[in-house]
Each structure stands twice: as C-alpha cells, then as structure tokens.
Amino acid sequence: MVSNEKRPAGLGHGKGPGRRAQFTALPYLLILPLVAVIGILALYPTYVTLSQSFFRVDPLDPPERFIGLENYAKLFADPAVSNAWGNTAYYAVFGVTLTVLVGLGIALALRYPFRGRGLVLACVVLPWALPGVVEGIIWDWIYNPSFGVLNSILSSLHVIAQYQVWISESRLVSIFFISVVQVWQTAPLAALLILASLQNIPEEVRDAGSLDGVNRLQELWYITLPLIRPGLAIAMVQSVIASLNIFDQVYVLNGNAPTGASVVMQTYLTAFQNLNFGQGYALSFLLTSLTMGISVIVLRLVYRKVDF
C-alpha cells in the first residue's frame, strides 16, 4: 500500500496499451491565477531580495552600490549572526520534535468519534488561530518569574523550591520555553494534518492487524505510522518552516537579548535597527534557501505515497 513510485503528472490516463494520452490545458488554466499570485507575492520579492543582497543598501551610507558577496562574507564573520544560527538550530530541533509528537498525540486521541469531539477539536485548533504576538503576551504572564502561573503550580506541587526565571538566564532553557509557545501554536495544524491521514486508513487494515495479534504499540509502529507518512511529512515541513522562521514569540518574550535571538530576529535587527538592508536581504535569502532545502530533505525522507 505504501508505494515508492512516482506517477507522472500532467498527463491523462490512457485507457489501454498503445493509446496516446491526450494533453489537456484545463488544469493549467485553472491554476494559472494562483501561480500569478504566488509569482507576484513570493517569487518577485525573492528575486528582489536576492539581487539586492549583492548591493550595499544603507540609507546612512548612500548611494546603493554593487559589492558582490561582501554582505554574505560579513554575515559569516559576525558572531551575533553565528549565535542566531545556533539558536535557530535549537528552535528547529525542539520545535519540530515537540510539534510532531504533540500533534500525533492529539490526532490519535481524536481519531475515533466520541461525544463532544467537535468541541474538543475546536478548542485544540484555537491556539493556531491566535497571532504569535498574542500568544507571546499570554505566555509572558504564564512564565512571569514573580507571579506567573507556571511558577505557582510547580511551587504548589513542590517541584521547585523557589520561583524561577524561565527565560533569559540559560540559553537552552530559554529556547526550550519559547519553543513551547510556538509548539502551542503549530501543534494543532500538525494534529489536523495527521488526523486527516489517520482517517484515510481503512478499518479493515486495523482489523487485519488485530487478527494477526498485534498489540497497540505494534499497531502504531508497524501499521499506523507508515500509513500516515504523507500527513506526517507535511506536518513536519510546516513545523520546520515555522521553527526556522520564529520571530514573534522571541521578540515578545525575550526582546533583543542574544540568549534566544533567532535568525529572523537578527535579520530584523540588521535591517531595521542598524539600517543595513543589504545584509538584511542576504541573511533573509540564506534563511529562505535553508528552509527550502531542509523542507525538501524532510519530504524526501518521510513522504511516501500511500494507496489503499
């Protein structure tokens, strides 16, 4: 049922051997408006970003002039940028792992209908609908070292002896807790994607497994997970994109502090604070390229076509 074959796209299905497939333009015409929108809103800005990254674009140092790879060279030599790359790698590891695990857990819990499932689903999806800044403000109060809910609960349960500063003090701890906020936002989408794949699995497959005597864990590992690879792959790609491009939560929870600064935060500081737009373009393009590259790798490793 899990196939490694790739069906050629764009051709109609032949009805028998030796019969030539007919080319139809209709699918291409139908997606043309979307392609135009993507072209204007995504491809053109990407082109401008790339081309401007080879120029010195600094209003305090006019005029704009071609400088080749100088922006990129300076970025690679900048310790603040290196720090941001390191932080972003941690965000990606924490973010993707937690998003997929939490999303999978939610999807498995909501797989079968039960009373109130619709309401539960709506509540689960709610964090996804909130802007990142709003979530950052909510969790800022939860994490507050003086009167936050987290400290209060952990102190009541005697898990901690005194109230803690969760963000700012330690790099890894700060990144972890900021990632939790983002996972709160991205896990619902992952859950929906995985749930869609779960619901595509025919009951007969599960029944066949039961007849063969598999337990729940074995069913999950050998049957369920392989069959939901399409949903898992898309959920992982979404999470990779969100984690690598994290900004709102970092800005609200940690300000300009280098402890948890992400690459997007560094891009913001470079462009809007230092007014060095050329380097900002370069950093932005590097991040975009990396995001695309990792997404393709994840898809290649995880995605498999599934037929029932």
Binding site: P59, N144, P145, A257
Partner: protein
C-alpha cells in the same frame, strides 16, 4: 349573466386596485420629492459649513506609541478643522520599525507619527520627515523648553509632544514604614535607604530597573551615569565608560549589582520600562524607580484602577553622588513622514496637540476624565503653570524647576546618527551582564567596541 357580473366585479376591483396604486404612487412621489429637497438642503448646508473648514473630507492617521486623547477632544479637532483623526496605537519599539520600513519603502502608513529625541539626527540625515519650519514659528515657542532636541542644523524635524524627562520616584508610605524620615539627597543615601527597605521587610525587592534588552534599559543607564557625575560619550562620540573609575562604568556596575543582590525583582529581567512601572511600581511591589518618567505620578500612580499606591508616590530630585544630579530629557515628538498624504492637516493636528490648554487638560487640568493615561508632562511651561495654579499637579513647582533648570540632553554633545546601534549594544550587554553571561568589564568593553566600530 354570471359572466357579466364576474366581469363587472373584476373590472370594478381592478379599477379600485388601480386607484389604490395610483394613490400610493403619488404619495411616494411626493414623499420622495420632499425628502430630496430636505437632503439637498442639508447637503448645501453641509457644503457651506465644510467650505469654512480647511480640511473638510480629509482623514489623517496618527500612529503613536500611546493611547489617544479622549474621543470628545478628537471630535473637537474635527469640528474645528474638518479633518477626522484615525488613531493607531503601537508599542514604541514596533512603531520605530514601522517608521523605518514604511519610509524606506516609500509607503504611506501615517500622516503624523513619533519622532523620538534619539532619532532626530538620523531622520535629518535620511530626510525621512517633512521639515516643520514653515508651519511653526520658532520665535513664538519660547515656552517649549525641549524644542532644541528636535532641531538639527536649523531644521525642525519634529515638535515636542510632551516634556518627558527622567526623574526618580519613590513611595513615601514605604519609606515611613521602614523608619526613614528624610528623603535621600545623594546617591549613597538612596542606595542605603533601598537596603533598609529590604532589611526591614517593607519591600523584598525595592528597586525597579527594567532589565529586558530594550530602549528603556539604555535610558536608565544614561540617567544613572548622569547621577554618577558623568556622561557616556565625549565630544567626538568616543566612549567614556571603559575605565572602572568612570561614571558610566560605575553606573553599569551599580545596575548589575542591584539585580544580583536582589534589590531588583527577578522578574524585571524580562520587563520593559512601561511594564515595570505599571506592573510593579503602580501596584506597590517596588518602592522606587530611579529613572522614571516625568508625569507618571499624575497619569499613572494616582489614577484609580491603574494604581494601588495612590497619593503615596512622589518625585525626588535625582540623587547624585554630589547632590542633585541632572534630569535627562527624553521627549517624544510628533512629525510628518515624507510619505504622508495630508501634510497640512497633519501640521494642523500637531499644532492642536501642542496647544497649551489641551496639553494641560491631558495632564489632568479638568480631572481624570480628560487625562491621557501615561501622558508625561505638558510640553509647554505655560501648561505646567496652569496645572500648578489649579493645584492639579503634584509637586508642580519641583517639576517646573527640574524642567527649567536641571533637565539636560542625554547626549550634551549631540546625538550620534548611529544611536540605534549604540542603544542596542548598551541594552543587550547590560542585560547579559545582569544575567551573569558576561562580566561588567566585558559588557563595557563590548559596548565600547560597538561605538568604535561605528565611528
């Protein structure tokens, strides 16, 4: 016969119906005619009235890092000028980003927006704001003490929107509880009093310093440096804070030490200045803000619903190492970005906002109903005098004296055009030093390195 009767009946009913419709139509037509006459009359009246209003039909967008004046006041502006005001409130840091992004991209976002004192030099060089010289006669603005902060090479880049300067605030009720009977006059006395507040159990963490890596922390350091008797940069904008005996270094060390020894609440490591003032000083969790903002007593600490320390907080002349230290001016101004659509209407709004009576109103001349929450002090001395005369401002004489005689620019030798990078280096390194990620010396060196690289 029956057919004829039916036909006759039908014919009669038809005529009746026709008459009914005709009557209805006539009534409707008459009503429509009267309505049209009334409407056109109103339109003529409105057009006549609007013709007298210079900006009738225009809507100006004001993007500001604070709440708007009361609606009734904005309606007054509309009634006087014809221009409607659309107010957009943004966080201060976010607003600076918006200004940069919009003006650099030549995109419209507002007709009037913030011109911070720290960016005047930069905006002048970048030509991002409309020079206001033709709209304001500088010779008539003698009662605006902080006007010079917004003039660069003779060009008026923005008009002051308030008279913000840094000032120490202290909770006198807490001092009394701790047995402190006289207000501290020197820096040493101030620090001693804080420790006594802590030792007596009146306040576990009596000092507020906003230690999140943001502009508020930079401003705090500038004020403490001034209290230590010095400044951050020399005339050539070279660093003056790398020597451990320098005022800037001592200020940095004092801030870091205050956090590490528990004088400052742990939570402050993640707090912005406004958050700390509203969430700690106003709620009685701390006893003092060394570098608070002028006007906070009247517009925050004494406002019911916002504060739990009403009538407990007072201003204190900055306790310096050798007595009263200078207060540092940090006013916000209003300016018109180059991308504005309604320049003249924007200038009219700024004039209205800077009107002496309006400024006094928003500072509490008519009580809390006209107050803009968080509004510091009026930008005109005449407004301040109105408030003092009406007994509507606590310690008005002290504030007036500070403004006239003790307030000075944060950078007496001029604000460097690379101020943004400097401030970022300041607040990120002080934040890191407070966390213990780097030593005070390393932080000072890192800030100095940034300054030297920007020369």
């Amino acid at each position: 016969m029956d057919c004829l009767l039916v036909h006759h009946w039908f014919d009669h009913e038809s005529r009746k119906a026709n008459l009914m419709w005709e009557g209805a139509f006539r009534s409707l037509a008459a009503g429509a005619l009267v309505g049209a006459m009334l409407l056109s009359g109103a339109a003529v009246t409105r057009a006549h009235t609007n013709a007298a209003l210079p900006f009738a039909g225009q809507t100006i967008t004001v993007a500001w890092a604070g709440p708007p004046p009361p609606k009734a006041d904005l309606d007054r502006f509309t009634a006087q000028t014809g221009a409607k005001v659309q107010w957009v409130t943004l966080g201060w840091d976010a607003l600076q980003t918006k200004i940069t992004a919009a003006v650099q991209a030549h995109a419209y976002f507002a007709d009037v927006t913030d011109v911070d004192w720290s960016r005047v030099g930069q905006y002048y060089l970048l030509k991002w704001f409309v020079p206001l010289n033709k709209y304001f006669d500088l010779s008539t603005l003698k009662d605006v003490p902080q006007l010079s902060s917004f003039i660069y090479n003779g060009q008026l880049v923005g008009m002051p929107a308030d008279s913000s300067f840094t000032v120490t605030t202290i909770n006198t009720a807490m001092l009394k509880k701790a047995g402190i009977t006289t207000l501290p006059a020197t820096f040493a006395e101030y620090t001693t009093d804080l420790k006594q507040l802590q030792a007596k159990g009146v306040s576990a963490h009596p000092l507020d310093i906003p230690l999140q890596a943001a502009e508020g922390l930079s401003t705090y350091w500038y004020q403490v440096t001034a209290a230590m008797g010095g400044t951050m940069l020399d005339k050539a904008h070279k660093p003056l804070f790398t020597n451990p005996n320098s005022a800037g270094y001592k200020a940095l060390a004092w801030i870091v030490n205050a956090y590490k020894t528990g004088l400052v609440p742990k939570a402050n490591i993640t707090m912005l200045d406004g958050q700390a003032q509203q969430g700690e000083m106003a709620l009685g969790r701390v006893a003092s803000v060394f570098s608070d903002y002028s006007g906070n007593v009247g517009s925050l600490y004494n406002i019911p619903g916002q504060s739990k320390v009403i009538n407990q907080v007072r201003y204190l002349p900055i306790p310096g190492v050798k007595g009263t230290a200078p207060n540092l001016g940090n006013p916000d101004g209003m300016g018109i970005p180059m991308t504005a659509r309604n320049v003249a209407a924007g200038a009219a709004f700024i004039k209205w906002f800077d009107d002496a009576h309006n400024q006094a109103l928003w500072s509490g001349l008519n009580g809390s109903k006209d107050v803009i929450v968080g509004f510091t002090l009026p930008m005109r001395l005449s407004s301040l005098e109105m408030l003092i005369k009406a007994n509507k401002i606590q310690q008005g004489d002290l504030l007036l004296s500070m403004l006239e005689h003790h307030a000075q620019a944060a950078f007496p030798t001029g604000i460097p055009p690379w101020y943004n990078q400097f401030s970022a280096a300041v607040n990120t390194n002080i934040h890191s030093a407070a966390l213990g990620s780097e030593s005070v010396q390393a932080a000072a060196q890192a800030i100095a390195q940034t300054v030297n690289s920007l020369q």
